[in-house]
């Protein structure tokens, strides 16, 4: 990859990048397929039931595949009152940025794509675009639940983007770079979860909220809004909203690993285990924790949600930046 990056840009490069990107896409789709299955299985285990166990053997290994096929063959209905062009555009608007953010994530020192100087900023900027897709979907449906869900999603995503962005600043201060490779390199000895514990906690909470997952799943609150912004969506259009959500789960877990858990670096003396294994291990732990959250926490109320974001997480993140800067000024 490094050789490829250093070569002169050409159409051959575009073709190679396209092939590699498509390979990553397949990998991500595989993750989503088995991520959903794992989520259902783990939640089933935590709630004292079996989870999927019929399709594809004892562990329901083909359950998600069957679900996808069902969605593919399902009739696609667009309500008469909906804004047709926007209705069709919304799932694409939501999905494209979800895949675009993967371009900058360094999975291991060899397995990575773009090496951008402002990688972290790119991730944050592009992931913010999904909000537009969600609002568009909610607005275009011309459905009351969808509009409320879309508006809530927008309010929540922008409110938690501030603490998310601010918490990461502590890491940026210590590294002195926005490049994700540099950030991983700086964690060779000590991971940032130990030097920036406050930032990590704020980041994790804000990340769960950005992902619209329980306990912050107000935009989709089944019990009050039916399904939020995608009430009117069916079949594969709906599937793309879901896919975007799980691709973000993938991306966010990978980003957490990169920023706070030392990326592909091994734990102390266990260096003989290769980097990819370490990355996969840490990544899986983060995904598991996110599923665990979903099975454990009840949903927050809308007022609690906003107050937590603006009155607790934001000041804490801000204070963390200046404490970090001060400590760095005085002791390093």
């Amino acid at each position: 990859m490094e050789q490829l990056l250093n070569s002169v840009p050409s159409w051959t490069n575009v073709a190679i990048f396209f092939g590699l990107g498509a390979a990553l896409l397949l990998m991500v789709l595989a993750f989503v397929t088995y991520g959903i299955l794992a989520e259902r299985k783990v939640m089933g285990f935590m709630q004292g039931r079996y989870g999927p166990n019929q399709v594809g053997g004892r562990w329901g290994l083909l359950q998600t595949v069957a679900d996808v096929l069902k969605l593919l063959l399902k009739e696609d209905t667009i309500p008469k009152a909906a804004d047709r062009p926007l209705f069709i555009l919304a799932p694409i608007l939501a999905f494209a940025p979800a895949f675009m953010v993967l371009a900058v994530l360094p999975f291991t020192d060899a397995f990575q794509f773009a090496d951008i100087g402002v990688g972290l900023l790119y991730y944050i900027a592009v992931s913010g675009l999904t909000t537009i897709g969600v609002v568009t979907g909610g607005w275009a449906s011309n459905n009351k639940y969808a509009l409320i869900g879309g508006m809530r999603a927008a309010a929540q995503m922008i409110s938690y983007e501030i603490p998310l962005v601010m918490s990461v600043l502590g890491v940026v201060l210590l590294t002195g770079s926005l490049n994700l490779n540099d950030i991983v390199e700086a964690q060779k000895n000590v991971w940032y979860i130990f030097t920036q514990p406050v930032a990590f906690i704020v980041f994790l909470i804000a990340a769960v909220s950005e992902l619209n997952r329980t306990p912050f799943d107000l935009p989709e609150a089944e019990s009050e809004l039916v399904a939020g912004f995608h009430v009117e969506y069916s079949g594969f259009r709906w599937a793309f909203f879901m896919l975007a959500e799980y691709v973000y789960l993938f991306a966010m877990a990978a980003l957490t690993t990169i920023l706070f858990l030392g990326g592909w670096h091994p734990v102390m003396f266990l260096g003989f285990i290769p980097g990819p294994v370490w990355f996969a291990l840490k990544f899986s732990v983060v995904v598991f924790v996110l599923i665990w959250f979903r099975a454990t926490f009840p949903r927050l109320r809308a007022d609690q949600l906003m107050e937590l974001g603006w009155k607790v997480l934001f000041p804490v993140a801000l204070a963390n930046i200046f404490v970090t800067a001060l400590v760095k000024e005085l002791f390093f």
Binding site: V8, V14, E75, T77, L147, D303
Partner: protein, 122 residues
């Protein structure tokens, strides 16, 4: 170095293309496979089984707008904080105090909004 830069953004562009092509391709493929039997009842807006009444794009709560305004203010603040954080090693104590003054002014705004109950969702 220039090559890495150009190639990196080429990758970003390729990822954008794939990100758009997958939904477009999958939905086009799906069109060939899925049934298409529209009826009046299917195309009505869902409203928990009631007949939908009037347009759903009504006037909306102003508090969403307030949060959007706050977001713009503090997101711009982060735009200033990022370069500062990256270059902090070279800037030193003076820049820290300067940034502290800048952030304090914005925090005053946050406290004002807090006191005015803008941050309250009721």
């Amino acid at each position: 170095m220039g090559n890495v830069y150009a190639n990196s953004y080429l990758i970003v562009f390729v990822f954008l293309c794939i990100g758009v092509l997958l939904p477009v391709g999958a939905l086009t493929l799906g069109k060939l496979l899925r049934p298409h039997v529209p009826s009046e009842a299917k195309q009505t807006t869902y409203e928990s089984g009631n007949n939908p009444f009037h347009d759903s794009r009504v006037q909306f709560q102003v508090r969403y707008y307030m949060f959007a305004l706050l977001f713009v203010i503090f997101d711009v603040e982060t735009v200033f904080l990022y370069p500062w954080a990256v270059a902090y090693n070279k800037l030193g104590l003076f820049a820290l105090i300067e940034m502290l003054i800048f952030v304090l002014m914005l925090v005053l705004g946050l406290i004002y909004a807090w006191k005015k109950k803008v941050l309250q969702w009721m």
